[in-house]
């Protein structure tokens, strides 16, 4: 059953509204810019793809175009933040933080200045562009850097809220965004707080906790509905903040359910699954299954073809849940 408290859209299972998470960024950053004149946006020749062009139209004097130079993107922003601005830096995740990771580590994190790094077109869903542009390692890269908060919004509305919250945080943030249109699950009334995972679905007597992040959370809901038909009861949790992880919630649910499945459009190494495994290994070990990219690179194709090919679809989530149930202590 959908959790009432999550205040999800009524049509979440029936032709939900569609928008890319990056569109949420485009809206949110304009709102953040209205609320605080210190907010500036930088891009590396990708104003429209990153949706930064909305900010560019609203606040041309606070928009900075650095050209195709992602290392410059990070370091110019570090200087601006050092002065007192709140910069959002935008490019594809494959390049930002893919290409400028050391600059982010030294001049933003170690330097301790509040830059918000926005990696767009993350995951295999970017599709036809192929493996070079399909960032699948960014969460691991950014999670490893001290002082960084890491956020991966499940839909455009959550992305909008997360962007506004990130601007107020006063410390470095990584935000991961998708290119493809994906179901809008949340509403204006859905709670959002950095660091607080939210239950979206809860069965009567859940046996498996499924933790998802990003637009794949919708697939997790679809899987939960399938499983319910087979009398397998689960909890579905949207983990929008991968760092700091909501450890309390995760441990509670592992304890309650006894088995865990993680779902992400990212390598299974070092991402959401890795983060949760680290926590549970320490606090309350339970059988775990990991749905994600199994240590491979992607290729060209449609998002749907790639998600199926690499075993990250609804069917795979259902299988992973059953597998984890089989390993669960009775």
């Amino acid at each position: 059953m959908i959790k009432m408290q999550a205040k999800l859209a009524e049509n979440v299972f029936d032709k939900p509204g569609m928008a890319s998470t990056r569109e949420g960024f485009g809206k949110g950053v304009v709102e953040a810019g209205k609320a605080d004149e210190r907010v500036v946006v930088l891009t590396a020749d990708l104003a429209e793809s990153t949706q930064a062009h909305h900010f560019q139209s609203a606040f041309p004097e606070r928009f900075v175009q650095v050209g195709v130079a992602e290392q410059n993107l990070a370091t110019v922003a570090a200087g601006m933040a050092n002065y007192g601005k709140i910069p959002f830096i935008t490019s594809y995740a494959a390049f930002n933080p893919g290409r400028n990771w050391e600059q982010i580590r030294t001049t933003i994190a170690l330097n301790d200045v509040p830059v918000i790094v926005c990696g767009m077109h993350a995951g295999v869903s970017v599709g036809p562009d192929g493996a070079t542009h399909q960032a699948l390692e960014d969460i691991a890269m950014m999670r490893a850097i001290p002082k960084f908060t890491v956020i991966s919004a499940c839909d455009s509305e959550e992305g909008r809220k997360a962007t506004i919250a990130a601007a107020k945080l006063g410390s470095p943030v990584y935000m991961r965004w998708g290119r493809e249109k994906s179901p809008i699950m949340t509403t204006v009334n859905t709670p959002f707080e950095i660091g607080k995972a939210i239950e979206f679905w809860r069965g009567k007597k859940p046996q498996v906790a499924i933790f998802g992040t990003g637009p794949f959370v919708h697939n997790v809901l679809l899987a939960a509905r399938e499983l319910e038909k087979e009398n397998i009861s689960v909890v579905v949790v949207n983990v929008h903040t991968i760092k700091p992880l909501d450890e309390k919630k995760i441990v509670e649910l592992a304890r309650e359910c006894g088995a865990v499945v993680t779902v992400e459009e990212h390598q299974v190494h070092g991402g959401l699954g890795g983060a949760i495994a680290e926590t549970l290994a320490r606090e309350f070990p339970v059988p775990m299954e990991f749905v994600g990219m199994q240590d491979k690179f992607g290729q060209s194709g449609t998002a749907a073809e790639l998600i199926e090919h690499y075993g990250m679809g609804v069917k795979n989530i259902v299988e992973a849940v059953k597998k984890s149930l089989g390993r669960r202590s009775k």
Binding site: G67, Q71, N72, V76, G79, K85, P87, T107
Partner: protein, 287 residues
């Protein structure tokens, strides 16, 4: 505003004190870079004792000029200059690179007030200084942003991205001072990766370039003044310096790039005598 002879003598005397402290702190630290800090001592003395608008007792003063050190490995010269200028006691310099010290091996912004930025990995300073200068201009601030770089880090792509950016935005409030000492860790720059013609390259990227002798205080101060009058472009002060300046035994010897006294080449002076001999040579360099 030209300097009087007396002012020049005062700055030269400060530079000598800064150099002596560098030798002492590096010997104490048992690691760190010697040649670069010595080579930049005259410029640091001129900056902290004449050029910069700053207040050692109020390092966060909003209107201060910003000094962004890109090549963080020469930070001993900055620490020494800051200590002599009154930011902290000179004795604290002897904690350099030691556990618990505010004087990290490479400078960290949130550890020591006044260092402005964390640096060490090369090639990221010009971009940061350019971002700083652009942000300050957005808010109509009048302070200047100085960025000190090495010649070796001109080999980094990030440097040229920043140089291009500063040219595009016509950051007249930005002055880069490049330590052109011709050495890097593995040898002479023109052998490792030829950089010349540096001045032409910067002019081609829409910078105003002033070449100076980096040990001539009057020339450096005049170049900083000239940069103020350039209203169309950022300025590069290309400062030709002698690595190891002040200690004839090690001047221009790239092997002293990354070694402290007591740990450097021993073909001229035995390790245990290096500190003592270097301090004597420095004293003898007093004009």
């Amino acid at each position: 505003m030209s300097l009087t002879d007396q002012e020049i003598k005062m700055i030269e005397a400060k530079a000598l004190e800064i150099r002596k402290t560098i030798i002492e702190m590096l010997t104490e630290a048992k690691s760190g870079h010697t040649a670069g800090p010595l080579g930049m001592a005259d410029i640091f003395a001129a900056l902290y004792f004449h050029v910069l608008k700053h207040d050692p007792k109020n390092p966060d003063w909003a209107e201060r000029d910003r000094l962004i050190l890109s090549n963080g490995h020469i930070t001993p010269v900055r620490y020494s200059a800051m200590a002599h200028a009154g930011y902290f006691p000179v004795e604290e310099c002897m904690t350099l690179r030691k556990f618990g010290s505010r004087l990290q091996g490479h400078p960290e912004r949130d550890m020591l007030p006044g260092v402005e930025t964390t640096s060490g990995p090369l090639g990221s300073g010009v971009s940061q200084a350019a971002g700083y200068a652009l942000a300050a201009r957005m808010d109509k601030k009048n302070f200047r942003v100085f960025c000190l770089t090495s010649d070796g880090e001109q080999e980094e792509g990030n440097t040229w991205e920043g140089v291009m950016f500063a040219g595009k935005y016509r950051l007249t409030n930005l002055v880069q001072v490049m330590d052109r000492n011709n050495i890097q860790i593995d040898g002479n720059t023109e052998d490792i990766m030829p950089l010349e013609p540096l001045a032409d390259k910067y002019r081609a990227f829409n910078w105003h370039v002033i070449e100076i002798d980096g040990h001539n205080i009057a020339q450096f101060v005049a170049a900083c003044d000239e940069a103020k009058s350039i209203k169309e472009k950022p300025t590069l002060i290309l400062a030709h310096t002698t690595p190891g300046k002040g200690i004839p035994t090690i001047e221009n010897d790239y092997r002293w790039h990354g070694n402290p006294p007591g740990k450097g080449p021993t073909d001229k002076i035995p390790a245990d005598k290096q500190k003592e001999v270097f301090l004597q040579e420095l004293e003898a360099s007093r004009v």
